[in-house]
């Protein structure tokens, strides 16, 4: 019997679990995937927004600004990459410069500090490759970039260290009320909990409707991206937004915390909540629109493209509240952008809401910090030497593009909520994230996973169920020469 069951292992569920793990609560987190961070949290822009965008007075605005303020300290405590690179919302000649003023004022109302509207010369000095048609920009010095994968993983690991039980491959199929508790049926068994927190992303409406009759309706809005080689990473240093439209914040161009260049997202409502495929039209739109922000977009240096789904709730704002007609069931629904930025504030807010219903006692011995997996790529030569002395596996380079060693991969597998799939390894230590996209290292990663997990290479998954990388041994089937 758990005090709290969190449904969904995205950045929201993991962060909520981490913030609740401060208290004397028995908590479990149920995730249908083979790893945490397999949903929207793995496919987004990774921007920690300043908070000028959301409507004044909305929950979105409040939690975005608060989350953005909490982020730097958290990134240091939990060791995930974060960089305050500043954002620019750009306005080209012929566009409505009044929009910048509106955004500026909204930002001031929302409590965003340091906002300024700047002109062409200043923009050019900040971004030499800016498109010549850009006349004005809103400068948001608090805008930042972060590693969404490691933020989610760090929250999960820290939560696990503080006692949260992670149950992967546990899709919630049904929830029933049994007197004062909930009985949650998952694909892998039954769980009982006094409180249920619904953080199921695009499926939050489905989970909600298992216990409540009040309307929550979530539509998936797809965003497609192109990611470029690190060689192109220096093209811009700030995050460059287009003027927002009714479709959203538009297609941005940004450096990533790891030094790549990224452009996207599009915004198209789709019916299929599994529809994370990219499209020819979408990728074209990304590249064409990015070229309106920056000159010299290196379309030949794309290393991969991907898509994520925003969970858009009909009302437009985040819904974070107990369901009106089902005791002790809390929704965290409609967490579209800026959900990543807001996540820490969501964690704090959920604890506050829960504290109004029950007596939350802080536990002694809460571990507040998490150390990063040592990274050979980021280490100095002296640090590398020390790491190799501590474990020679730090000299065995597995991923040559990102310089990731066997020791790092082993640690990613052995840590709490450890990696079980090739993509899970990739999210934690970046093996396969580089310019050859796993061409050289994925066979080695498969071998290491098989060895560590004590299974056959043919059982190793790329990501979800059914994503086996290998289809058998050589010559298992006859050779068909015709």
């Amino acid at each position: 019997m758990y005090d709290v069951a969190v449904i969904g292992g995205g950045v929201v569920g993991c962060t909520v679990a981490r913030f609740l793990s401060k208290y004397e609560l028995k908590i479990c987190l149920l995730e249908r995937g083979t790893d945490i961070c397999e949903g929207t949290s793995k496919a987004n822009s990774g921007i920690i927004h300043g908070g000028y965008d959301a409507a004044g007075g909305s929950l979105k605005a409040k939690l975005n600004v608060r989350g953005s303020r909490m982020m730097e300290e958290l990134s240091l405590k939990l060791s995930f990459a974060y960089k305050r690179n500043g954002s620019l919302v750009i306005c080209r000649s012929g566009q409505d410069a009044g929009m910048l003023q509106t955004l500026y004022e909204r930002g001031v109302t929302n409590g965003v500090s340091g906002l300024r509207i700047i002109d062409k010369d200043e923009i050019r000095s900040m971004e030499p490759n800016i498109n010549a048609a850009v006349e004005k920009a809103l400068y948001v010095p608090t805008g930042a970039i972060a590693d969404p994968f490691m933020m989610t993983v760090a929250m999960a690991e820290n939560a696990a260290v503080n006692g949260v039980e992670f149950m992967l491959r546990s899709e919630v199929i049904d929830i029933e009320r049994d007197d004062t508790e909930y009985v949650i049926t998952t694909g892998s068994g039954e769980i009982r909990a006094r409180y249920v927190i619904n953080a199921a992303g695009v499926y939050a409406d489905r989970i909600h409707s298992m216990v409540s009759r009040t309307p929550v309706s979530i539509r998936a809005v797809k965003g497609e991206y192109c990611l470029f080689d690190k060689e192109a990473g220096g093209l811009v240093s700030h995050t460059l937004f287009q003027l927002p439209s009714e479709k959203g914040k538009g297609i941005l161009v940004t450096p990533t915390v790891h030094g790549n260049l990224m452009a996207g997202p599009t915004a198209i409502t789709v019916d299929d909540k599994e529809g994370v495929d990219t499209t020819a039209a979408g990728l074209k739109e990304v590249l064409d629109t990015a070229a309106m922000s920056v000159i010299g977009m290196p379309s030949g240096k794309v290393i991969t493209s991907f898509a994520g789904l925003r969970a858009k709730e009909a009302g437009g704002d985040f819904i974070i509240a107990f369901a009106a007609d089902s005791d002790n069931f809390m929704d965290i629904a409609g967490i579209d952008s800026p959900g990543l930025s807001a996540a820490p504030a969501i964690g704090e807010y959920v604890a506050e809401l829960l504290g109004r219903r029950m007596d939350l006692k802080e536990k002694s011995g809460f571990v507040e910090e998490r150390e990063a997996i040592p990274s050979i790529a980021d280490a100095s030569d002296a640090e590398r030497q020390a790491l190799i002395e501590s474990d020679p596996a730090f000299a065995n380079v597995i991923c040559r593009c990102e310089l990731v060693t066997e020791a790092e991969i082993l640690e990613a597998i052995r840590r709490p909520v450890g990696a079980r799939t090739v993509d899970a390894v990739k999210r934690r230590v970046r093996a396969g994230m580089g310019r050859c996209q796993g061409g050289f290292c994925s066979p080695k990663v498969v071998d290491i996973l098989a060895r560590e997990l004590g299974v056959k290479p043919t059982e190793i998954l790329k990501a979800g169920e059914g994503s086996e990388i290998l289809k058998g041994r050589n010559k298992e089937r006859p050779c068909d020469t015709e």
Binding site: V276, T304, V397, P443, G466, R473, E476, C479
Partner: protein, 474 residues
């Protein structure tokens, strides 16, 4: 800090040929640094035959070609260090080169060298480079990754395959996947001709009835967790898909063979310029970069289709580096750059009756036609072997079969093997059938007979490489 005359980065065919020739030119204080656990570079996984016609005047497999050079290196006693990754390069005030390396035994260490030869090879362009839309499930590989899985690990990355790109690696993999039990549905090529050798079109596709779809591309990959199929469409003269021509092809695997890129991250750390066209460092005709005493050769310089050219170019790099050590500079007029020569690529309707003779290194371009009563007329041959070759190819073609058998007891699970002589083409499937289920236990040496007189062809199946219990592939 260790010091030596010449450091060579990369122990593939380029690095090994450079080392040999520098040594023979009188510089013996050499160090080869290789990050893999064995020398040979990418050739270790290219188990098919067709290497070495120019260099050794016979047709070898990749591992056989590599082992000839390894043997020379060992005989000459040239030092090398495997499982050693070069992580940084620089120069000091005196113009010496500083090479930062990393390995298990020594951790991080530096070598100071008077001359440096870059021989780091190349890597493949992935799916992202052509930006195919669709899902990103399992089952999408670059052809070289599939080659590694099948030829070295002994595992099949798929059972029903579509190959994107008809360069030589794509063609070779079409045959390899087929021989190991996969169904290759088609090879899709966006250009109106194949960039691969005509010989590979014949021996890798036509022999197995695999269709080549010229002027086509894959416009979408379907299947969220694992590939379920692809959409294939014709393209117009500007290589844009033509609406209405889409066709859905079921498959569980897509292999990309869409080009190679020289691997020059280290070169950039030296501050050297990169040539936009080749992707390799800017060099003079003598292979020297703008930094005196730094040379580049092989696939790190520009992509070579034929390994023999890599060896030839690299031997010049070795000589020129030796001259630099001896005289402080490369002699005026020294050359070495080996251009990628025009090769006999496949264009439909063009040169259909042309054959490249493979009986000797002359590689004559033959014209051969079979008349109505089955007689073959040959021209273009410089020796009588050409007539024999063309007649046989047109009437009763024969092939060397290269494949793998299961290997037990080693770190490597597949042993490359081949027939020791050609067999009739229509016996290929019998040979493969007889090899199914065969397993061999380590140690094995190159040339060991695995099966005598396979499928009654008179040919023996022999081992294609040396493997002991502790041969490691990492």
């Amino acid at each position: 800090m260790n010091a030596c005359d010449i450091v060579i980065i990369g122990g593939g065919p380029a690095g090994l040929a450079a080392a040999e020739s520098a040594f023979k030119a009188g510089v013996t204080d050499i160090m080869i640094l290789e990050r893999d656990s064995r020398l040979g570079g990418i050739l270790n996984q290219c188990i098919h035959n067709g290497f070495g016609l120019h260099t050794f005047r016979e047709e070898l497999t990749g591992p056989e070609y590599a082992s000839r050079y390894e043997r020379k290196i060992r005989e000459l006693g040239i030092p090398y260090s495997t499982e050693t990754m070069v992580t940084d390069l620089g120069t000091d005030e005196s113009g010496d080169k500083l090479i930062t390396c990393m390995n298990r035994q020594r951790g991080m260490y530096r070598i100071k060298a008077r001359a440096l030869i870059l021989a780091m090879g190349c890597r493949e362009r992935p799916r992202g480079a052509v930006n195919t839309p669709g899902y990103r499930g399992a089952g999408v590989f670059s052809a070289g990754t599939a080659q590694l899985y099948v030829n070295i690990h002994g595992y099949m990355p798929g059972k029903t395959v579509v190959i994107v790109g008809s360069g030589d690696i794509g063609l070779i993999m079409a045959r390899r996947m087929t021989l190991e039990g996969a169904k290759v549905r088609m090879v899709v090529e966006i250009m109106d001709h194949s960039g691969g050798l005509k010989r590979n079109i014949i021996q890798c596709l036509n022999d197995f009835g695999i269709p080549l779809k010229l002027s086509h591309t894959v416009t979408e990959i379907r299947g969220k967790d694992r590939v379920e199929g692809v959409v294939v469409a014709s393209v117009d003269e500007r290589r844009r898909p033509i609406p209405g021509t889409e066709e859905y092809v079921e498959c569980d695997t897509v292999l990309y063979s869409v080009g190679l890129i020289p691997e020059n991250e280290l070169t950039r750390k030296l501050g050297a310029g990169i040539d936009d066209k080749t992707g390799g460092p800017v060099v003079k005709a003598d292979l020297e970069l703008s930094i005196p005493g730094v040379f580049a050769c092989g696939n790190v310089l520009h992509v070579h289709d034929i390994v023999d050219h890599v060896s030839e170019e690299s031997a010049h790099a070795g000589e020129n580096a030796a001259a630099y050590i001896r005289d402080g500079r490369v002699p005026e007029g020294a050359g070495g750059y080996v251009d990628s020569e025009e090769k006999n690529v496949y264009r439909p309707g063009e040169n259909e009756d042309r054959l490249t003779c493979i009986m000797c290194p002359n590689g004559c371009e033959l014209t051969a036609v079979k008349d109505d009563d089955g007689k073959v007329k040959v021209s273009g041959n410089r020796c009588p072997k050409g007539v024999r070759y063309a007649t046989e190819e047109l009437t009763a073609p024969r092939r060397i079969v290269t494949t793998t058998v299961k290997l037990e007891g080693g770190g490597i699970e597949a042993l490359p093997v081949k027939t020791d002589r050609t067999i009739p083409k229509d016996k290929i499937s019998d040979v493969i059938k007889e090899l199914t289920g065969v397993s061999v236990t380590v140690p094995v040496s190159t040339g060991d007979v695995i099966i005598h007189d396979i499928a009654g062809t008179g040919a023996d199946i022999i081992a294609g490489t040396d493997i002991t219990a502790d041969t490691d592939i990492d």
